[in-house]
């Protein structure tokens, strides 16, 4: 780690991400770094993973020197809820032990609806978790079937209510829209279920067909039709209008929250160039312009740490150009947009042209910020290409 990277540490928000690479079954669309028991065999287990995690967090604390306490912790996956409340308690204890938690820290865990219960939520709440993110995806049974989801349509809403009962103020539901076979009405029904659950945060992602997934094979064989972009645009507009009508506002292209406090601070750290240590197999980290990522396989990960080696697979030092590009790419997606000063001056005419094309907000640009219009949000990548 170059000294320069560490120099500003603690002045920016500092986060810890923990990657849990286990799932009970593999959803056909998913290309995340996660493994089923069948895929792992005896090469790795939650126990060897937890040993590795503890070792990595200790290593992190040593590398970072006087590491600041974590402002945010995010346990993601994979399926963190598979670890159970006890497992997640051990995880958070390990983070606390290595870095400590800043006062008012946001501590989130992802959970799959089917592996949660009132006891589970009570347990993690007691351990110090403050936020839960549930993978709902849809309320339509046939959509859940195409996505290979194993929970019942009603379970995510019920889990969200259980979490709130257990004292979680901040609960998120993830939706996927544009799944083959989904109709506008299916999506409306999913949104109704989300609203009924009374959560304060929603993430909605259009289904991406990732290379190498079972979904991609089915699409290629013609078993499933791809959803047209124009339909996806309609669906996005349905989501945005419905949530807005119920007091939830977008703060990032795919994220809505009912209040500023309900926004996910950990993710904002990613988008605003914060520092974070990502621990666990395949986890990505960023500290002061250096990005690195760990080996992906849990067995390789556990082995490296058992032998006292760093689990990092590769790293990159962001050049000023990379850095500038990333800023535009990430910040433009936020509701407050990007300061014009972050653009290369030669991109200013393009910014004005994007206003003329209805993609950037005119008033905001006059006030020195590039902020996407409603139409611009759906064309954000095109805007980024024009501005970089």
């Amino acid at each position: 780690m170059p000294g320069s990277a560490l120099s500003g540490l603690g002045q920016r928000p500092f986060g810890v991400y923990v990657h849990v690479p286990f799932c009970a079954t593999r959803c056909g669309y998913c290309d995340f770094n996660t493994y089923t028991p069948g895929e792992l065999g005896s090469s790795a287990s939650p126990a060897s993973w937890l040993d590795g995690l503890r070792a990595e967090l200790d290593l992190a604390a040593a590398v970072l020197g006087s590491a600041p306490p974590a402002d945010t912790v995010f346990v993601g996956g994979g399926t963190p809820s598979l670890l159970g409340a006890d497992g997640l308690t051990s995880v958070l204890d390990a983070v606390r032990g290595a870095f400590g938690l800043a006062p008012g820290a946001e501590v989130t865990t992802e959970s799959n609806p089917e592996s949660t219960s009132p006891e589970f939520f009570a347990g993690i709440r007691a351990a110090g978790y403050t936020r839960v993110s549930l993978g709902m995806q849809s309320a339509a049974p046939h959509v859940l079937a195409v996505l290979d989801r194993v929970h019942t349509p009603g379970r995510p809403g019920a889990a969200a209510r259980e979490a709130r009962t257990a004292g979680f103020e901040h609960v998120n539901l993830d939706l996927i829209y544009g799944t083959p076979g989904e109709t506008d009405d299916d999506l409306r029904a999913s949104l109704a279920a989300v609203l009924e659950a009374g959560v304060d945060h929603v993430s909605a992602y259009s289904l991406i067909v990732e290379d190498g997934t079972a979904l991609a094979r089915r699409v290629r064989r013609g078993e499933l039709p791809m959803t047209d972009d124009l339909v996806l645009a309609d669906r996005y507009e349905i989501i945005d209008a419905t949530l807005r009508a119920h007091g939830m506002h977008w703060y990032e292209v795919s994220n809505w929250a009912s209040t500023v406090d309900a926004r996910c601070r950990h993710n904002l750290g990613y988008w605003l160039g914060g520092d974070w240590w990502g621990a666990g197999p395949g986890a990505h980290s960023h500290v002061g312009g250096v990005r690195w990522w760990n080996v992906k396989h849990p067995a390789a990960y556990a082995k490296a740490l058992a032998e006292g080696r760093s689990p990092a697979a590769a790293r990159e030092l962001l050049s000023p150009e990379d850095h500038a590009l990333e800023r535009v790419l990430l910040e433009i997606r936020l509701v407050d947009g990007l300061p014009v000063s972050a653009l290369d001056p030669s991109a200013l005419p393009e910014a004005r042209a994007a206003v003329a094309d209805g993609l950037l907000d005119a008033g905001a640009l006059d006030a020195g910020r590039c902020v996407l219009t409603d139409r611009g949000r759906l064309l954000a990548d095109a805007v980024v290409r024009r501005l970089t």
Partner: protein, 614 residues
Amino acid sequence: MSTFADTTFTAPEQIRNFCIIAHIDHGKSTLADRMLQITGVVQARDMRAQYLDRMDIERERGITIKAQNVRLPWTLDGAQHVLHMIDTPGHVDFTYEVSRALDACEGAILLVDAAQGIEAQTLANLYMALDRDLHIIPVLNKIDLPAADPEKYAAEIAHILGGEPEDVLRVSAKTGMGVSELLDEVVRQVPPPVGVADAPARAMIFDSVYDTYRGVVTYIRVVDGKITPRERIRMMSTGAVHELLEVGIISPEPKPSQGLGVGEVGYLITGVKDVRQSRVGDTVTSERKGATEALSGYREPQPMVYSGLYPVDGSDYPDLREALDKLQLNDAALTYEPETSAALGFGFRCGFLGLLHLEITRDRLEREFGLDLISTAPNVVYRVVLDDRGELTVTNPSDWPEGKVAEIFEPVTKCTIIAPSEYIGTIMELCQGKRGQLGGMDYLSEDRVELRYTMPLGEIIFDFFDSLKSRTRGYASLDYEESGEQASDLVKVDILLQGEPVDAFSAIVHKDAAYGYGTRMATRLRELIPRQQFEVPIQAAIGSRIIARETIRAMRKDVLAKCYGGDITRKRKLLEKQKEGKKRMKMVGRVEVPQEAFVAALSTDEPTGKDKKK
């Protein structure tokens, strides 16, 4: 390995010159392999399949493009003979290679696949050989195949050639069965060459090839007199005199020799760097006491099909020019001249012998010279007579005159289709749709027919062969040759994007086919051109009359919406890739058209792999 055949000036009576001709894939090159082996000029350990297919592209595609000659020793009844064997290509585009090979021979092995029977190029090549009065030895090949039906096809051959089915030899080029008997028959049946040994030297150039290391290598067959390395030679068409650096034979690699006598086939190296100075069809004589009358030459191959070749990256234009210059050294049939397209920039209008020739040339340019190319829709040559009786030759739709046209002539072909008789109806229907006129029909055997049509070349080069193959489940074969021209009702169809004509997509078609072409292109382009941030109308037009219209709807979603967590690197890489993709777009007005759209729209196959529908 050295053999008695390495010594030249063999008495003509001991020489036999023959070529192997056949339909594509009937096994000519494989038969040549067995001959190389049986005569001992190639050792088993040096053997590889289709030994004489020396070019990479030939080996990859498994077809012969260039004819190749080899000198072989063969002893029959104790008498030593020298055989000059020429392996020829089977594809219709390379017919002129066959015709040149035939001119260097007295006999031809007509090879027929015993599982397929006579096919269209079998007949075409046979008729060329008969035109030259060559002695024909009919041979059935691949008799090792379980599907072989030698009885049936021997009868077919006898029916065409006259003679008895029993006279048709049977071989397996794969196993070697029957090949040495075939060589015996070559010695017995093919007449020896005749020429005057003490006359002034006359040798026919039947091929001329540029070699990076040795310069131009010229292949000749000596008719009269002799050529020796000590003498200077004169090209009779130009009078140019050259030093002889080397005279030799091919067996199967080049071997320098003391010279070549009557009836012998071999090569010369003079140090010239340009094949045009050593032209195919020219007569070589000695500088001193040379001949006064040249041998009758060849007709130069005329390009039949034209297409524009453009570098995807405009800055590769000079490289493309250089690459074409190099290729042309070995390919007299390839012609090219610079042209500009509003849509594609700077490129070349190239003339080819046919679609395979086009495809192969493009392929070689891309692979051997590392170029990325777009080729425009192929077209034929039109003769346009204007109202003022002025005349225009059009090889590019962009040069099509607006108005004031009195008459338009297009090239026509005589084509031969051979297929199982169950497909007669289908074939007739197809040919009719392509403006074909039935000239006649013959049964080759009970269930196989030969159909003869007169058809515009422009229809054949469009997608005729593909349609023919797919409608006959691959059983039909096609051969065609130029056969003059005819007046036709032709129009130019333009394709417009947002009102701007895209010259690369313009085509000259029969007026009845204009609507079909227009709608097909418009639909294809709608599929191939990605949505833009605004709506893009696509129109097909004849002059100012719109005949078809499609619309690419405006793009509304262009944003990655998935939680990649902290993997920002991946997001950045995706964006960089998108930006790279944009760079490869050609701008037509404000519309960004991906290179692939040009390539796919201009290819004859239906576009595939599109996941976008409107």
